[in-house]
Amino acid sequence: MILAFIAFVWIFPFFWMILGSLKTQREIMAIPPTLWPKHATLSNFMKWFTQLDFGNYFINSMVVAIIVMLGNMVFCSMVGYALAKIDFAGKNVLFGMVMVTLMVPGVATFVPLFVEITNLHLLNSYASLILPFLAQPIGVFLMRQFMAGIPDALLEAGRIDGAGELRIFFQIVLPECKPPLATLAVLTFLSSWNNFLWPLVAAQSNKMYTLPVALSLYSTGQNATDYSVLLAGAVLVITPILLLFIFLQKYFIQGVAMTGIK
């Protein structure tokens, strides 16, 4: 019972957000605040779809998140395979480097990254939003750990049948790797969708803003107290990922349990 009450309080901010997003501009300023909207309206959402270019930000966020997700799945599983199953010169150096950079925070690299991207003439493009996140050490760690557990005998059988490394990778190893791949997909999609500092710096025009950037820029300055529209924006940013979470809960939670990183 106590737990149910706490749980209710815990997710109340989400309810409050949805309720607020349905209120009129007048009602949202009411003191004391009302619980249920008296005249529920979708006009705040309409404002995002008509004046505020929601579709554009949504597409930007989606494109970036999907490419980042796919890129990491491909790149990280390939290195993961090499590190887990092939004995080669330079292996320890490579793995060591990946492990060390696991700890590097985003703020440690964003200034030179900005200089670099500017000089590659990529600023304010999809490339600038995607490239820095395509190869994440956490993915390598995840894939390597899982692949190390695949029995060598399985690979040897393939080799005896005359399969090359590429075939072994694609036809034997990858099909075994669905669980970590799903976890990696969810983790990278989530972090890309919610990513903020870098897109804030790299996306320099309305055309390239992702959803969180658009919401944050709208929420500071003269619109800072335009709460009904702001809350509608928050609903629009949070809803896709919450839906994904409801359906793929297992993989979100596995991701944390396996890597300890959200």
Partner: protein
């Protein structure tokens, strides 16, 4: 090196190549050039000619520590970690322990519910919390029912940081809860049963069995969460813009601000100080983990 091994090495690097190229270009090079830039006078004017800058030794670092706003931002970040981290851990452990027993389905449901804030965008939840915490907002309305006159949380220098902390705990608790749940589930049943047969109380079992066995998990959670908290930024960006009177100016916010002012050298130096602090804190915590085992 034998022919076979040379062949294997070639194949392995072939597999690693796509990753290595992107990783080197957008992780290793920026990481090293950040260090290099911190010793130069690079500003926004040099963005197109990054090699055309002067080496100025430790001047950026000296300048940093002479800026009272910077030292204040470090203290603010420190307070955030020293108070916020233990609170998050205690709450997460309490939730984990209460969700570890009981019905499987119910627990899965609650687990998902408490984890939900973790997946939501910080920017979006910051908007919601700003609305909750405003002068005539939900929180103060609820407090008024109990006859308490709440302050204007985000505009009061005494409460702004604390208010951000409450939101951050709400937002991050789920991650630790999941890690702790995984740790709790690895505690062998029979140890608990043996203690129960010996007549140990719930509290006694928790203190003498659960806590000691959970030590590695607790420390892992502590390391991960302190790394997150040392970098807090989005919350202050959306909710307070570092204010009022710099009371929520975090180390990350300072870095972003210096970057915004075009002082890339100073900003890089500040990044490296923070990076160094994060590394030291992590290593210390891992040391602690090893010696205590």
């Amino acid at each position: 090196m034998g022919v076979l091994r040379r062949r294997r090495t070639a194949i392995a690097w072939g597999f690693a190549l796509p990753f290595v190229i992107v990783f080197a270009a957008f992780m290793l090079i920026p990481l090293l050039s950040s260090l290099a830039m911190s010793f130069t006078d690079i500003t926004v004017q040099d963005v197109r000619t990054p090699f055309n800058v002067n080496f100025i030794g430790l001047q950026n670092y000296v300048k940093l520590f002479q800026d009272p706003r910077y030292t204040k931002s470090l203290v603010t970040t420190g307070i955030f970690v020293v108070i916020g981290l233990p609170l998050t851990m205690i709450i997460a452990l309490a939730f984990a322990v209460s969700l570890n027993k009981g019905l499987q389905h119910v627990n899965t449901f609650f687990r998902a519910l408490f984890y939900a804030p973790v997946v939501a965008s910080t920017v979006a939840v910051s908007v919601v919390w700003r609305y909750i915490l405003q002068k005539d907002g939900l929180l103060n309305t609820v407090l008024a029912v109990f006859g308490i006159q709440g302050p204007n949380w985000l505009h009061d220098t005494h409460t702004a940081l604390f208010a951000l902390m409450v939101m951050t705990i709400w937002r991050n608790m789920g991650t630790l809860m999941i890690i702790f749940l995984a740790g709790l589930q690895s505690i062998p049943e029979d140890v608990m049963e043996a203690a129960a047969i010996d007549g140990a109380s719930e509290w006694r079992k928790f203190r003498s069995i659960t806590l000691p066995l959970m030590k590695p998990t607790l420390l892992l959670g502590m390391v991960l969460q302190s790394v997150t908290y040392l970098q807090f930024f989005e919350e202050s960006f959306v909710m307070t813009q570092g204010g009022p009177l710099d009371s929520t100016l975090s180390a990350s916010y300072y870095i972003y601000e210096k970057f915004g002012f075009g002082q890339y050298g100073v900003s890089s130096a500040a990044s490296y100080v923070l990076f160094f602090i994060i590394a030291v804190v992590s290593v210390l915590q891992f040391r602690l983990m090893r010696t205590k085992d």
